[in-house]
């Protein structure tokens, strides 16, 4: 689709109706607490291709609440958000899945009652086209909260707006029959470039609201590594400023392709035509609630970010990777375009051999500076186009050190991908996965599982405009920390 075509559908405005917007992460993480994974009753989900983000918090006083929360989130990601007046119909699928897993919930103990119902709060957000742009739509029940920041200002918060209004009795979606009225709440608001949306479960939402009431906005504190966030939450819990509850949040940042893409047939679309698989490639295996054999619900990845070239059908992540790396080389004398064609980091955590190989190399070399990462199955193509010099650095590269500014070479027939990592050096633990996240105009982050603690590194994509990167699947930050 050309820009002119897009303008033609824009209802008389110069604003493209289906402009090249992307959403990117500002942080991503999954924090392990001191407790077992099975303690968490939160669930988060992101379906990047449809720009659906959902978060749910299982009620403590219900059985298998984490499982139910995950069913709700999965259903939202796969089939869209519920609508008011149609909640019963929307709940049919997760209700059936819940019933089907009844035998898996059964146990010997007298208190193990598979017929007990579970409850969870729910908040979903979806970015959708509307005349002249895009809009956020929210569907919510209970006390998970959304915070929408625009140009540094909080322009939307809800459904709870005061920290004092949180209690232990939120309204919930139940896994069982209910006579209660459909009190799903909905909200739409036009989206704008630069929007940052945070979806948070109640403990964090309450904490954010209290900080805002104290005229001490917490946004800066919410950036940073997992270690930083873990320390922050531990500190705030100890000081009783944060409730001792599971903490999960999703951060979605919205960007639009920069002006220098105007007139190009940008492959980046808000609603790409190709559906990447939502499930299939898990992060680290996760036990089901209370050790139940509920893998099919809980082994799904929390995020499935991908960076996909525009011209290839990303039927499977591996195919996408192959296709991208085989892409025609751009002209040697156009440095910007050269890099554009070169840089494609396609991640599917366990299915992409490319990434696996990358990560094996990372592991072997312990991420020493200036490690070259080879993707041996990438085939010929871009490698011959003299890509930028590979660099893995424990420090942010200076202008002189920046890979884009350094001489490049690559053996014919070998495709190489270079990843300057800004931040802490870390080992990659393959068993736990190493997801790439947050593709944006300028960076991709990699969550590296360290020897002792996970760390986050950022991958600089050399400041390329978003439109040059091929189709970019939206990804979102996911952070969870469980109650202790």
């Amino acid at each position: 689709m050309t820009a002119a075509m897009r303008r033609g559908r824009s209802h008389g405005t110069e604003e493209p109706a289906e402009s090249a917007w992307i959403a990117r992460t500002t942080s991503v993480s999954y924090l392990r607490s001191k407790l077992a994974e099975t303690e968490s009753e939160d669930a988060v989900g992101c379906r990047d291709s449809a720009h659906i983000y959902a978060i749910a918090d299982g009620a403590t006083l219900s059985a298998f609440a984490g499982h139910w929360a995950q069913l709700l989130v999965d259903h939202a990601c796969e089939n869209g958000l519920p609508r008011r007046g149609q909640l019963d119909a929307w709940l049919k699928v997760p209700n059936e899945q819940w019933d089907a897993a009844r035998s898996e919930r059964a146990g010997e103990a007298w208190w193990s009652d598979p017929n007990r119902t579970a409850s969870a709060t729910f908040l979903g957000a979806q970015l959708s086209p509307q005349a002249g742009g895009q809009e956020w739509r929210f569907a919510m029940i209970g006390d998970c909260c959304a915070f929408l920041l625009r140009r540094g200002e909080l322009i939307l918060v809800g459904p709870i707006t005061r920290s004092a209004d949180f209690d232990f009795n939120p309204r919930c979606l139940s896994s069982g029959p209910s006579e209660a009225p459909d009190d799903l709440r909905e909200k739409t608001i036009p989206a704008e470039q630069g929007d940052v949306l945070i979806l948070a479960t109640d403990a964090l939402a309450e904490w954010i609201l209290r900080r805002l009431e104290e005229r001490d906005p917490p946004w800066t504190d919410l950036r940073g590594s997992q270690d930083h966030l873990a320390s922050l939450f531990d500190r705030e819990r100890e000081a009783r400023r944060m409730k001792n509850d599971d903490v999960s949040f999703i951060v979605i940042s919205l960007e639009r392709a920069p002006a220098d893409c105007a007139g190009e047939d940008s492959p980046i679309t808000l609603l790409p035509s190709v559906e990447p698989p939502y499930d299939g490639s898990g992060r680290q295996p996760v036990e089901g609630p209370a050790g139940a054999n509920l893998d099919r619900y809980t082994k799904r990845p929390l995020t499935l970010p991908t960076l996909i070239d525009s011209g290839d059908p990303p039927a499977r992540p591996r195919q996408v990777a192959q296709a991208r790396l085989d892409a025609p080389a751009p002209p040697r004398d156009e440095h910007q375009k050269l890099r554009t064609a070169l840089i494609a980091l396609v991640v599917s955590l366990l299915t992409s051999s490319v990434v696996s190989i990358l990560m094996k190399d990372l592991t072997a070399k312990d991420l020493n500076p200036h490690v070259t990462l080879e993707a041996t199955d990438g085939g010929p193509g871009v490698a011959s186009a003299a890509p930028p010099v590979p660099s893995v650095s424990a420090q942010a590269p200076t202008a002189q050190e920046h890979p884009a500014n350094t001489a490049a070479s690559a053996a014919p027939g070998v495709t190489e991908v270079w990843v300057p990592i800004v931040g802490q050096a870390a080992k990659v633990d393959l068993a736990k996965g190493a997801p790439v996240y947050g593709p944006s105009a300028s960076s991709v982050g990699i969550l590296l599982t360290g020897v002792h603690t996970p760390v986050i590194a950022r991958v600089d994509l050399f400041g390329l405009p978003a439109c040059k990167l091929g189709r970019i699947e939206v990804s979102a930050a996911v952070l969870q920390k469980k109650a202790e």
Binding site: L35, T38, E39, D57, A59, T60, L61, S62, A63, F64, A65, H67, L87, D88, L91, R105, G107, A109, W110, W111, S112, D113, R116, S119, T121, I141, G142, D167, F168, N169, P170, R171, C172, L173, S174, S178, A180, P181, D182, D183, L184, D202, R240, K243, N244, D245, P289, A290, G291, A292, A483, E484
Partner: protein
């Protein structure tokens, strides 16, 4: 205050006092079929059952609270649980879950039994409060930042020592954690037939002096418990107390803050 949810890290403490005096063999609320001691044992078993279910995560029990049961009747004021828990003071809810004397599975829902009916001698409520205070003091020293301990006293309200009971009751309610002072909740199982009374804010209308005594002993519900009660459909005021008369004692358990309890919703 009273805001800390009972959790693995900061567990709660619930001590159930069960009146096992001779008067408990009288019929319950005019009933010919059930004596008060049976009604009382049933109430305790239901309370323990409810507590276990509150801490059940599905196939496991999260140790969100420690439980003690003190029986008082005649000269006997001591831990009232039997079987594997016999003689123990405060035990984890996980141990309670695993150690009923028996489980009656004849009904649709399993009914575990920890306490059997028992009735003999006088009603040494003061001694029971003193023993409970000892347990609470020891527990708060171990858990200074938890939700404050809760004592649920199930009785027919005819103490031997009417004068000293309020004194030791008030002393018990001064035992504190950083999150508040101990709460004393009373469930009156009476021989007098009368309407159920739940969480009243005054003693007006209570049928006898024993009920009024127990009302006076009962803690005013802190906001967090009162909010929980309202969500569950109970009418309360800021003066409402943790007192029920001839009513389901589980009501008191359902006010406790183990974490989020879903309000009515779809």
């Amino acid at each position: 205050m009273y805001s800390e949810p009972m959790s693995k890290k900061r567990p709660g403490c619930i001590v159930v006092l069960i009146d096992q005096s001779g008067s408990m063999s009288d019929p319950f609320a005019g009933s010919e079929k059930q004596a008060k001691d049976a009604a009382c044992a049933l109430a305790v078993n239901r309370v323990l059952r409810e507590l276990v279910l509150c801490c059940s995560r599905g196939k496991s029990i999260s140790p969100r609270c420690e439980i003690g049961v003190i029986g008082y009747g005649g000269a006997n004021v001591a831990s009232a649980v039997g079987g594997r828990l016999s003689g123990k003071t405060l035990v984890s809810i996980a141990d309670v879950a695993d150690s009923p004397l028996r489980v009656d599975r004849s009904e649709a829902r399993p009914y575990p039994v920890w306490i059997e009916p028992k009735a003999s001698g006088g009603t040494p409520m003061t001694a029971a409060f003193v023993l409970a205070s000892e347990w609470l003091s020891e527990w708060t020293a171990r858990h200074p930042d938890s939700f404050p301990p809760i004592v649920i006293n199930i009785t027919d309200g005819e103490p031997d020592d009417e004068d000293s009971v309020p004194v030791v009751g008030r002393r018990l309610c001064q035992i504190s954690t950083s999150n508040g002072a101990a709460l004393l909740l009373n469930a009156h199982i009476s021989s007098t037939a009368g309407n159920e009374v739940l969480l009243p804010d005054s003693d007006v209308g209570l049928p006898d002096a024993y009920a009024r005594l127990l009302f006076d002993l009962s803690s005013v519900l802190p906001d967090s418990l009162r909010k929980s009660a309202e969500v569950q459909g109970f009418a309360t005021t800021p003066s409402s107390r943790g007192f029920v008369y001839n009513a389901n004692v589980e009501t008191l358990v359902r006010l406790l803050t183990f974490g989020s309890r879903p309000a009515e919703g779809r």
